[in-house]
């Protein structure tokens, strides 16, 4: 009970800055009464409850599962299955992401207007589906490369900086309409459930392999997952 109250006050403190910002700008700059005050307070209460439950569930469910799977794979010693698992985790968590579905539908719309594809519903649907698969596969590949990096102990900065150089070079050749969508697709792939799971997996792997430091080798999977979609979406735009 005490712990619950403590985590509830923690969530209130997390949300307080947003409320202060909104109140200040409403009162000092816009000088208008806030509409539906009661509804807003009720919504804020739900956010606080939700955040409290989420963090509780994080420590009970997501973190232990990610770590125990990392330990089991490390003990089993099967590189093949670990890599298959990494790819499926990246692909599976991304392909159903609502933000991605919205972005790819919009991209198909832009592409049809720009004359890159035929302006028909079927062509647009095919384009959007292809784009979704491209992003999901690139996130799968990102987690796979990231896990391989943890196993081999490659320094992360060369891979990431190399990746960003690739992004800059490909940007020069990609059709203009796709660039904005490509840059955005890097941000939409990492959802609230994927991040804790993938972080626990990386840290768990790095701490169960001899000679790896969980701080240096465990983090970095998210960085890969937000880099590769940019590259592959632009290539998708060039090829089509």
């Amino acid at each position: 009970m005490k712990a619950l109250i403590k985590s509830l006050t923690g969530s209130v403190r997390d949300l307080l800055p947003i409320i202060l910002v909104i109140a200040f700008f409403q009162a000092a700059v816009l000088q208008q009464p806030l509409p539906h005050v009661l509804e807003i307070l009720l919504g804020a209460l739900m956010v606080v409850i939700g955040l409290t439950l989420f963090i509780q569930g994080l420590e009970m469910g997501l973190f232990p599962v990610g770590e125990s799977m990392a330990f089991s794979f490390a003990r089993k010693g099967s590189l093949f299955w670990l890599l298959v698992f990494s790819f499926s985790l990246g692909f599976g968590t991304t392909v159903a992401e609502p933000a991605l579905i919205a972005v790819s539908a919009e991209a198909a719309h832009v592409a049809a207007e720009g004359g890159m594809i035929e302006d028909s519903p079927v062509a647009q649907e095919n384009y959007a589906f292809g784009l979704r698969m491209t992003v999901a596969a690139s996130v799968g590949l990102a987690i796979l490369i990231g896990v391989l990096r943890i196993l081999k102990g490659w320094p992360i900065q060369y891979l990431i900086i190399g990746g960003y150089i690739a992004v800059i070079v490909i940007t020069m050749f990609a059709p203009k309409e796709i660039i904005g969508i490509a840059y955005d697709s890097g941000g939409v792939t990492t959802s609230t459930i994927t991040v804790p799971l993938v972080t626990a997996l990386g840290v768990g792997l790095a701490s169960s392999i001899k000679g790896r430091n969980p701080m240096i080798d465990g983090f970095g999977l998210i960085a890969f997952a937000s880099l590769t979609p940019m590259i592959f979406v632009m290539i998708y735009g060039i090829v089509l």
């Binding site: 997390d14 949300l15 800055p17 947003i18 910002v21 909104i22 700008f25 700059v29 509804e39 009720l42 919504g43 804020a44 209460l45 739900m46 409850i49 939700g50 955040l51 409290t52 989420f54 963090i55 509780q56 569930g57 994080l58 009970m60 469910g61 997501l62 232990p64 125990s68 799977m69 089991s72 299955w81 985790l89 599976g92 392909v95 159903a96 992360i156 900086i161 960003y164 800059i168 940007t171 904005g180 890097g186 941000g187 990492t190 959802s191 609230t192 804790p196 799971l197 972080t199 701490s207 430091n213 969980p214 701080m215 240096i216 983090f219 970095g220 998210i222 960085a223 997952a225 937000s226």
Partner: protein, 263 residues
Amino acid sequence: MNWIADFFSTLLSTIKDVLPIAVIIFGFQFLVIRRSINNFPKVMMGFALVILGLSFFLLGLEKALFPVGKLMAEQLTSINSGSSENSFLWVYLFAFSIGASTTIAEPSLIAVALKANQVSGGTISVWGLRIAVAIGVAMGIALGSWRIVSGYPIHWFIITGYMIVVVQTYFAPKLIVPLAYDSGGVTTSTVTVPLVAALGLGLAENIPGRSPLIDGFGLIAFASLFPMITVMAYAQLSQRKSKEQSPDSENQTESTQLKGENS
């Protein structure tokens, strides 16, 4: 009261998001690893809490915070249209403070900060990391808003930003580099994106000569670039300050933070 119906539809879509993840995890667990999960009921309870918590969280955001935030972004950007460039100061201030405050409430950042604190044995404080990331997002969004108003091409900013990241990587403490790279991707999640997108679109619509499609987006790219810079800077600062002080004190990070506040 249609809140209850809304709650169930949010719950359903959250379950739909979690389902593929659960299938992959438990599929591999039972078919490949073939060992039962330790404390299985507790883990299931944790998953249930995550789903329930996210549903409450998303519904509260949609019902209360997003409408207000979007309304304010529209009002702020429209009262400025047609006037001199100085009056955009309020917009930049709003961009800065909304970027910082939404990042503090971002659940995935909390998750990564908890993990980083645990792994580093307490040297990286949960709040230190969250505040460093929040300042990064705030700076990114304020600068991104200024870019929309001024109309300079986005590539200059992004490429310069990455160059700073590359230079910092060589000077920052080695331990922080992967975490700093991660914090770029973590920030653009549930809370920040919708509000920031509304701000960008509002700005682009209200300034003559800007296209919402080209100029309105791109704030997200700024928001995921700057946290890398500030997180590395945070580590550089706390390293330098702990070097100046006696190295044997246990509460190095805490005392450096206090020192920073006093000066």
